[in-house]
């Protein structure tokens, strides 16, 4: 169970997106985890083959718990008989440290050392069908993990009659699922169902690639992309959130913000930025492109904030154990207000290097997924500086509370026409108030002032953003 944010101590496994035997690649979403804030897709940290899923959907486990065992790709030898991998992930996560800086906590899915395979056995491709595995010589108990045994008991499955599809003929959780399922119609995972609803995909037209033709989330996405499944004409239903979730989210925000105000000596700066050049440039850009590629002022503001963070590295990173840790990359946290209340601040990765159209597309995607409850683990774990843009709410300035362990938070208010002195004359110009809340431990006001002045300067040359 990876740490998916500074405030996370435990998470509930909602659903596996992979099965034992599946080949996975680094960055692939392998599971869905529910935290106090939202459901998050957990991405795999390495390439390999899923050998065993150790945690049942519906189970809540602390950060650091091993979720699954990964084997080397193309070397699906006999199964490890000892459950050795727990070590790597046993590292205690310190709530103060961001997961991005601590690879150990990311190893929630643990790579099995290659030493576990026996040279005598033929190498087999990872996707080898189950019945090719020679039965293990050991007693039958070694073929079944305690978790699988319990599952079988709960579902009334006779283990003796189950065909083991795991390495070495091991009985896996998936085998129990198959044995326990009544014959007939292929099932659809709940997560796949949710995505189908969201994307407007008719499940009847989707080809399932899971065990026994089960429809999985990936199948729905494939169908949606190919347009093979007729979209249902029903509108996307509102995201329903239980009062429990809303209350839990409120608590998580309360804890984090209290901790921020308790630990971080904030200082605040503000400046008014003339956006005439930026807005004029944006209008001109938007005139020539379809609606889908149009920019909004927020995209320019975010880009300027990210580029400035790269150039003033004191603002970009973390304060950990009485010391500053600067980040090489600018992963720009974007505060997204959720309709049912609360907010999340997932990261736009390397925002300083994204061309504006890409940043805009990334922003739209991020906001949409944040509100649909489908963020990815890397997005929630590693923002290096956060931006909150309250312009749409009609206020002129926002003095935000820093997300620990980050050291700065940038705020933008509403873009409004204001009287401004230009070249010795009074003119009316679109302006925005940019603010900076920064950690005084990590730097002084002069550095913050340099940061805001740079944001201003960047916005005067929008074509270079």
């Amino acid at each position: 169970m990876p740490s998916l944010g500074a405030d996370m101590t435990e998470g509930a496994l909602v659903e596996w997106l992979v099965q034992p035997g599946d080949t996975v690649v680094k960055g692939q979403a392998v599971a869905v985890v529910d935290t106090a804030k939202s459901a998050i897709e957990v991405e795999c940290f390495a390439d390999g083959v899923v050998e065993e899923l150790l945690v049942e959907p519906g189970t809540t486990v602390p950060v650091g718990t091993v979720l699954a065992v990964l084997g080397e790709a193309h070397e699906a030898g006999p199964a490890p008989t000892k459950a050795a991998p727990a070590k790597a992930a046993a590292a205690k996560p310190t709530a103060k440290k961001p997961a991005a800086k601590k690879p150990a906590t990311k190893k929630s899915v643990t790579r099995k050392p290659a030493a576990g395979k026996r040279p005598a056995t033929q190498k087999k491709p990872a996707a080898q069908p189950a019945d090719r595995h020679p039965p293990e010589a050991g007693p039958s108990t070694s073929r079944v993990s305690p978790l699988v045994r319990r599952l079988a008991r709960e579902r009334g499955v006779d283990l003796g009659a189950v065909h083991g599809s795991g390495p070495g003929g091991r009985v896996t959780r998936a085998d129990i699922d198959v044995a326990a399922r009544p014959a007939g119609r292929a099932r659809t995972t709940p997560y796949a169902r949710r995505i189908a609803t969201e994307l407007g995909v008719d499940l009847d037209g989707v080809v399932g690639t899971g065990p026994e033709g089960a429809i999985r989330a990936g199948d729905v996405r494939t169908a949606a992309a190919a347009g093979t499944a007729a979209p249902t004409r029903t509108a996307t239903p509102p995201v329903t959130v239980s009062p429990d979730r809303t209350a839990a989210r409120r608590h998580a925000i309360a804890d984090l913000m209290s901790r921020s105000k308790h630990e971080i000596p904030h200082y605040y700066l503000a400046t008014t930025i003339d956006l005439a050049a930026a807005v004029t440039w944006m209008r001109e850009h938007n005139r020539g492109v379809p609606v889908a590629e149009r920019l909004v002022p927020s995209a320019l503001l975010l880009k300027a904030a990210a580029v400035a963070a790269k150039q003033v590295p004191e603002m970009n990173g973390f304060w950990i154990d009485d010391g500053q840790v600067r980040s090489e990359h600018v992963h720009l946290g974007v505060a997204v207000a959720l309709r049912e209340g609360g907010l999340v601040a997932p990261a736009l990765h390397d925002a300083d290097r994204l061309p504006l159209p890409d940043l805009m597309a990334g922003l739209r995607d991020l906001v949409r997924r944040a509100r649909a409850g489908r963020l990815r683990s890397s997005e929630t774990a590693d923002p290096t500086i956060t931006v909150t843009d309250l312009g749409d709410q009609g206020v002129e300035a926002v003095f935000g509370v820093i997300y620990p362990p980050q050291v700065a938070l940038v705020g933008f208010g509403k873009v409004t026409d204001r009287p401004a002195a230009v070249d010795g004359l009074l003119g009316v110009r679109p302006c925005v108030t940019a603010t900076l809340s920064a950690d005084h431990r990590a730097g002084d006001g002069a550095v913050g002032a340099r940061y805001l002045a740079l944001v201003d300067r960047l916005l005067q040359s929008p074509e270079e953003l």
């Binding site: 509108a235 509102p238 609606v291 927020s298 207000a337 509100r371 312009g391 749409d392």
Partner: protein, 84 residues
């Protein structure tokens, strides 16, 4: 497309573009951004969907006029009528 048809498309586009926004009980003269708490990205999604559904070109200069359901319906009805 007459006003009545346009209004139906506007409602549907809004619901599709902004998950969680319920336009069914919304008065035709209610200000969308305020009533549904739309931000600029929501509004862009709405414009994109509406434009795609109706084939009507919506320029950035037109955004300000699209402030209520009624105004959107009239805009779409007028533009689609002149186009055909």
């Amino acid at each position: 497309m007459d006003r009545e048809q346009a209004l139906a498309v506007v409602r549907e586009s809004l619901t599709r573009a902004v998950p969680g926004a319920d336009s069914r009980g919304l008065a035709e003269d209610a200000v969308l951004r305020d009533e549904l708490e739309l931000d600029s990205l929501d509004f862009l999604n709405f414009v994109e969907t509406l434009s795609g559904e109706t084939g009507v070109t919506i320029d950035e200069e037109d955004y300000e006029r699209l402030d209520t359901l009624g105004a959107c319906a009239e805009f779409v009805a007028a533009r689609s009528g002149s186009a055909s």
